[in-house]
């Protein structure tokens, strides 16, 4: 079993990630280039197949030392009193909305239509998104709320999963989908869907500051072994530098390691789309935190007054 004592300082750093998708690009790059070795640590990686709550459970139980999770789940955990602390922001808003090509044509909108019009056009559609309660799910609801739509009545939101989304767009099962980058690129490539709302690019200013993926550690880890935390963040930053300075090489390394079988075109589309959302220095600003928490309050109806920049964001992650 992996429920080892938290102080397993000698062993490799146990990294748990809710997802190995491109949303976690900086982490994937760090592992693909092994900037961890340069920072002086070994690591061990576990993928939680998209499930942030499980990832946080593993971290809290001491079965992992660092967790990369959807930020929303992280905020919920912190609000519920989990003794965790943010050590890095990984990505800003990576979500996008794609629409079936024929639906877009019927509605007469394109990616360049005014954002208000694009969102209003969703009225009455069937829109697939990620699992209930996930960051994407909440983001979609918040998009609705922002432009005066009621997410419960104005459209049918079906929680789904990536393959089903690609299929749904191909075989007319759904009208549109809202998901992290890296899924609908398949549809864009084969022409069954077109991009409609691009959040990494900043299509919706109100959602621009929202952080989408963060890295957490247990509070006690930060207190007992700050050096290890620093090594981890250093490795992440090194990867960020590599993405900026040696873009082609890094992109190829990540593809080799984590997406060997993804068609090149789809991979390239995805990378280009999500890259603007990555937070390459890992830093989180107070505004970003506030925006993220306000956004989440809108979607869950819960106050997030238990979370404070001083208490819950480690100094190393502050900007």
């Amino acid at each position: 079993g992996g429920g080892a004592a938290p102080g397993a300082a000698g062993g490799p750093l146990r990294i748990a990630s809710a997802s190995s998708s491109l949303s976690a690009g900086p982490l994937l790059a760090a592992m693909a280039l092994d900037t961890f070795a340069q920072a002086g640590i070994a690591y061990e990686y576990t993928d939680f197949a998209g499930n942030s709550p499980n990832t946080i459970a593993a971290l809290s139980a001491g079965a992992a030392d660092v967790a990369l999770v959807g930020a929303a789940s992280g905020w919920d955990a912190l609000q519920e009193g989990a003794p965790l602390v943010v050590v890095a922001a990984i990505a800003g808003n990576t979500s996008e909305l794609g629409m079936r090509t024929d639906v877009a044509q019927r509605l007469g909108i394109t990616e360049t239509s005014p954002i208000e019009q694009r969102v209003q056009a969703l009225r009455g559609l069937t829109i697939a998104t990620a699992r209930t309660g996930s960051a994407n799910y909440q983001m979609l609801r918040s998009l609705f709320t922002l432009y005066g739509l009621n997410p419960d009545t104005d459209a049918t939101i079906v929680p789904s999963e990536p393959t089903a989304i690609v299929a749904g767009l191909q075989n007319d099962g759904i009208d549109a989908a809202f998901y992290g980058t890296g899924v609908m690129q398949t549809n864009y490539a084969d022409g069954t869907a077109v991009p409609m709302v691009n959040l990494p690019r900043g299509d919706v200013p109100e959602l621009e500051d929202i952080v989408f993926a963060t890295a957490l550690v247990r509070t006690e880890t930060l207190e007992n072994d700050p050096a290890r935390v620093e090594q981890f963040v250093t490795a992440l930053r090194a990867a960020g530098t590599a993405i900026t300075d040696r873009g082609e090489e890094t992109r190829a390394a990540v593809k080799d390691r984590y997406f060997p079988d993804l068609p090149d075109e789809v991979y390239r589309l995805s990378w280009d789309q999500v890259a603007p959302a990555w937070i390459l220095d890992g830093a989180l600003s107070p505004q970003q935190l506030t925006a993220s928490l306000e956004f989440q309050t809108q979607t869950t109806g819960k106050p997030y007054d238990g979370i404070g920049f001083e208490d819950d964001v480690a100094p190393i992650a502050r900007s």
Partner: protein, 275 residues
């Protein structure tokens, strides 16, 4: 069910039998209540002391949530959605399992032919074929129904199949000599004889029918107790998650009781206590 001690029949007057049966039942229920209460107390105590409430919440918090959900109708809405699909899925999967289990149970040759394919279907992790199912039946209630029926079918199929095989051949011969046709053999011998097996299979598959629906709802749903589970889990609202799970448990236990009652009288012949 109550008046036979292990391997030692009792032939006592009607009154005492009932009395001792009732006494046993009272003792049993008291014990169960005690275990339940002890569990709840332990849970309440452990919460916040040994384990963070984030993970196990507490009985009081769960109770509060349940009460709130009952008051605002949330629970009824989602429970009815799940329950409906589970019942439909159970009926579809169960009936086909009995029919198919019967057909293969009576024919060794076709059983031999079909068996590896069924085992393969059974060995298939259902999560792996969810995308395919979504293509065929879409998402929502349809998906839950298919997943549920499939799980029930596979579980009940094996028990029906083995039950039909275990029938004493001499009983079948007897009926056929009397002039019984295949329908007589089926309905008067094979199925009654396999009934204990089928009942065991039902007790196995009823809870799994619910689990199947809920799993599908968790993976891709916007309604039902599975949705409630994943919605609350996503927000670390552990009390909410556990409230949904508890409701699920109660429905599962209730369905199981219904099956038990429905089948008990049909098995009365076993309890002659004669030797």
């Amino acid at each position: 069910m109550t008046d036979t001690m292990n391997g030692r029949a009792r032939a006592v007057a009607t009154k005492p039998v009932l009395a001792s049966g009732i006494r046993d039942r009272v003792a049993r229920h008291l014990l169960q209540a005690a275990i339940l209460v002890a569990f709840l107390l332990l849970w309440q105590y452990a919460s916040g002391r040994w384990v963070a409430p984030l993970f196990i919440s507490s009985p009081v918090a769960v109770w509060d949530t349940v009460v709130r959900w009952i008051a605002d109708g949330t629970l009824l809405h989602h429970a009815v959605a799940t329950f409906r699909v589970a019942v439909a899925g159970f009926l579809i999967g169960g009936l086909s399992a009995v029919v198919f289990g019967y057909l293969l149970g009576v024919s060794r040759f076709w059983a031999g032919v079909a068996e590896p394919f069924i085992t393969a279907l059974y060995a298939l992790p259902k999560v792996a074929i969810i995308p395919l199912l979504i293509i065929w039946v879409g998402v929502g209630a349809g998906l839950s129904l298919v997943v549920c029926a499939l799980i029930v079918f596979l579980l009940l199929f094996y028990n029906t199949f083995y039950g039909i095989r275990e029938v004493k051949p001499a009983l079948i011969d007897g009926v056929r000599i009397m002039g019984g046709g295949w329908a007589d053999v089926a309905f008067k011998v094979r199925l009654p004889s396999a009934f204990v097996w089928i009942v065991a299979g039902m007790r196995i598959s009823v809870p799994q029918a619910l689990v199947g629906v809920v799993t599908a709802e968790i993976l891709a749903g916007n309604r039902g107790l599975g949705y409630l589970v994943s919605f609350n889990a996503g927000q670390f609202n552990t009390a909410g998650t556990l409230a949904a799970v508890a409701t699920l448990l109660l429905i599962g236990l209730g369905l199981d009781r219904v099956v038990a009652l429905a089948t008990r009288s049909a098995l009365a012949w076993q309890h002659g206590g004669g030797r």
